[in-house]
């Protein structure tokens, strides 16, 4: 069969399109880096971008310029930078988890918060806090939290997935209802824990329900970063498989894809990303819903680019949100979870209306 002249003239166009999208991802990355510098400058005490860049330069030994402001060094290295990195990494984790779950459920409305995965992880984390004093000394809570949250997340994901599958198809209605049920159950569990908690525990537990990036330390970042980068890379390599998975399970199988293994991996990665994010920052909703949607609208649904670009945009948005949360009513702070829900709620309603109009 020969290719007609008309067709061959189309192929360069396809090439150019792909190029444009890659440039868009690159620009997004540059914007995120710029915002990161900006966000480290702003706060109760403002630093200048020059001070920030000099501090980094001094640390890695490129520059050796004395900084006039003596507090600048402490503010930057101990407070601002960990928090900014945390916002970017947690935003990336939540957005990638959302992208992965939407692929798994073959449904653009799937999201860790809505489906109760975050709540399941939070319940596991809260139980861990409650029983922390009974744990042996050699087992630090800091490391146990993400592990517990991971298992809480996995249990919630598998439950919702099994409930929403009818004849091999994921049913949207059942999926969202199952999410409501899991959220309610986990909420009840957390409520029960609050009942038995002492004052100190109560303060940490409240933190889960609202979500906050205030707990950012280098130690936490040391745990979060490898997990999020590793999970993101794994998802990226699964990208083509997930594309085929979107056609349907049988279709993916006949394209030579190990469907069961793919499902297992995606459930694991999504729960791991959500679980670790929740373990250290509490429940931050809607990032996983909003971000992959914006990427799909602008760059198309291909999972590989979706995961990469969602990671970057997720980082960007959560960083912007956190910047707002800690500067709008400074020196007090808004919980970031409230802010994301405030933006995410109306977005979700808009999505529902869009789906309704399409049917």
């Amino acid at each position: 069969m020969s290719v007609s002249a008309k067709q061959s003239s189309i192929s360069p166009g396809l090439l150019q399109k792909a190029g444009f999208k890659d440039i868009a991802v690159l620009l997004l990355a540059v914007a995120t880096l710029t915002l990161m510098v900006g966000a480290t400058c702003l706060g109760a005490i403002n630093l200048t971008p020059f001070e920030v860049l000099t501090l980094i330069g001094n640390k890695i030994g490129i520059t050796n310029i004395a900084i006039e402001n003596p507090q600048a060094e402490i503010i930057f290295w101990k407070l601002r930078l960990p928090r900014v990195l945390m916002a970017v990494i947690v935003g990336a984790a939540l957005a990638q988890a959302g992208a992965a779950m939407q692929g798994l459920f073959r449904n653009p409305l799937a999201e860790p918060g809505l489906l109760g995965v975050s709540a399941g992880a939070a319940l596991a984390a809260v139980v861990t806090i409650l029983f922390a004093s009974w744990l042996p000394q050699w087992l630090p809570v800091l490391f146990l939290l993400p592990v517990a949250a991971f298992f809480g997340g996995i249990i919630a994901t598998v439950t919702v997935y099994k409930l929403s599958q009818i004849n091999g198809q994921s049913q949207v209605g059942t999926m969202l209802l199952a999410g409501i049920a899991i959220n309610a159950l986990a909420g009840a569990g957390i409520g029960l824990c609050i009942n038995f908690a002492d004052d100190a525990q109560l303060r940490s537990i409240t933190f889960w329900n609202l979500g906050s990036l205030a707990g950012a330390t280098w130690q936490v970042l040391g745990i979060l970063t490898p997990i999020v980068i590793g999970g993101g890379l794994l998802l990226y390599t699964l990208g083509r498989r997930l594309d085929a998975f979107l056609l349907g399970e049988a279709e993916a199988l006949h394209l030579g894809i190990n469907v069961e293994q793919t499902k297992l991996l995606v459930v694991g990665i999504a729960a791991m990303l959500t679980g670790t994010a929740v373990a250290f920052c509490g429940v931050i909703g809607f990032i996983g819903l909003v971000v992959p949607h914006l990427i799909r609208l602008s760059l198309g649904p291909s999972q590989q680019r979706l995961v990469l670009a969602s990671g970057i945009l997720g980082g960007f948005l959560l960083l912007a949100g956190d910047l707002g949360a800690r500067t709008v009513i400074a020196p007090a702070e808004l919980p970031i979870g409230i802010l994301t829900s405030l933006i995410g709620g109306p977005f979700f309603i808009w999505l529902l209306l869009r789906q309704k109009n399409r049917l």
Partner: protein, 278 residues
């Protein structure tokens, strides 16, 4: 026809499938040869889709065995199967806004070719299925018929190259949401593809489509094969009544060398004799 035409690419012997005590298929024999279209016919609930899922490897038979290219189907990994066999399940629900060419390109996932070659095959498959005018369109925005033709382009692109060895195409009711002209057009495309040496197994509903385009026919009823063979052997008024419970006349096609099946309403035509309890 290819020289390998006498060796079946897909052969099933004494296939049975049961869920609990409920037998869905009993002792089904079937062979698909390269270059031929084998059609499975039968009333709703006769076990066609179950047979299709067994033959595609989605489900394992309770008894019997299936051979693909002379080796047991179960000995293949999904990956090695996907290089020589493409399967189009009945309905694909893709709600994500992939473009038409992205959907077709997924058919090339098993091959991992260079981007340029992939794009050429995708465009050729789009041309063959007459969907090239849909290039750049978002898949969910297409009509049901257009979606089905794009899906056909996808599975054809998967086994596009003859050099990949013996090829098998499996289609589960490929014409279900197509209008009259597109039904015939789709089977013409499939026939064209089969003539290049590809074996085709299709579940079909329309007897006249089967009569015109298939070489081998198999009639299923209550999970058993009630007739199999060439078109003229299988499409007799007796077989059709036995399979579908419908009186028909079989007359020569006015233009082609195949039978034409004309259903007769029971109010006009008295059933000549009641068949074994249906």
């Amino acid at each position: 026809m290819k020289p390998t035409a006498n060796i079946p690419i897909l052969a099933a012997k004494q296939l049975s499938f049961a869920i609990g005590k409920h037998k869905l298929l009993t002792g089904v024999d079937l062979e698909v040869f390269p270059g031929q279209l084998t059609a499975v016919l039968g009333a709703n609930g006769a076990g066609k889709s179950t047979l299709f899922r067994l033959l595609s490897g989605e489900k394992r038979p309770s008894e019997g065995n299936i051979q693909f290219q002379g080796k047991p189907l179960s000995s293949y990994s999904p990956k090695s199967l996907s290089k020589g066999r493409a399967v189009l399940p009945q309905s694909s629900h893709l709600t994500f806004p992939f473009t038409v060419e992205q959907v077709v390109e997924m058919g090339r996932i098993p091959h991992q070719d260079a981007a340029r070659k992939t794009r050429e095959i995708v465009l050729e498959a789009l041309t063959l299925t007459r969907t090239d005018h849909l290039l750049g369109r978002s898949y969910p925005s297409l009509s049901g018929g257009e979606q089905q033709r794009v899906q056909l382009a996808r599975v054809l692109s998967q086994i596009w190259e003859e050099s990949d060895g013996p090829r098998l195409l499996m289609l589960d009711e490929p014409t279900s949401s197509l209008d009259l002209a597109h039904q015939y057009e789709m089977l013409q495309m499939v026939q064209k593809f089969a003539r290049q040496g590809c074996g085709v197994l299709a579940i079909l509903h329309d007897l006249n489509l089967a009569a015109q385009y298939a070489q081998q026919l198999i009639c299923l009823k209550h999970g058993k094969v009630v007739a199999s063979g060439t078109v003229s052997e299988v499409l007799t008024p007796e077989n059709i009544h036995h399979t579908f419970g419908q009186e028909v006349r079989v007359i020569p096609h006015p233009e082609m060398e195949c039978p034409l099946i004309v259903p007769i309403p029971s109010s006009i035509y008295q059933p000549h004799k009641p068949y074994a309890k249906a």
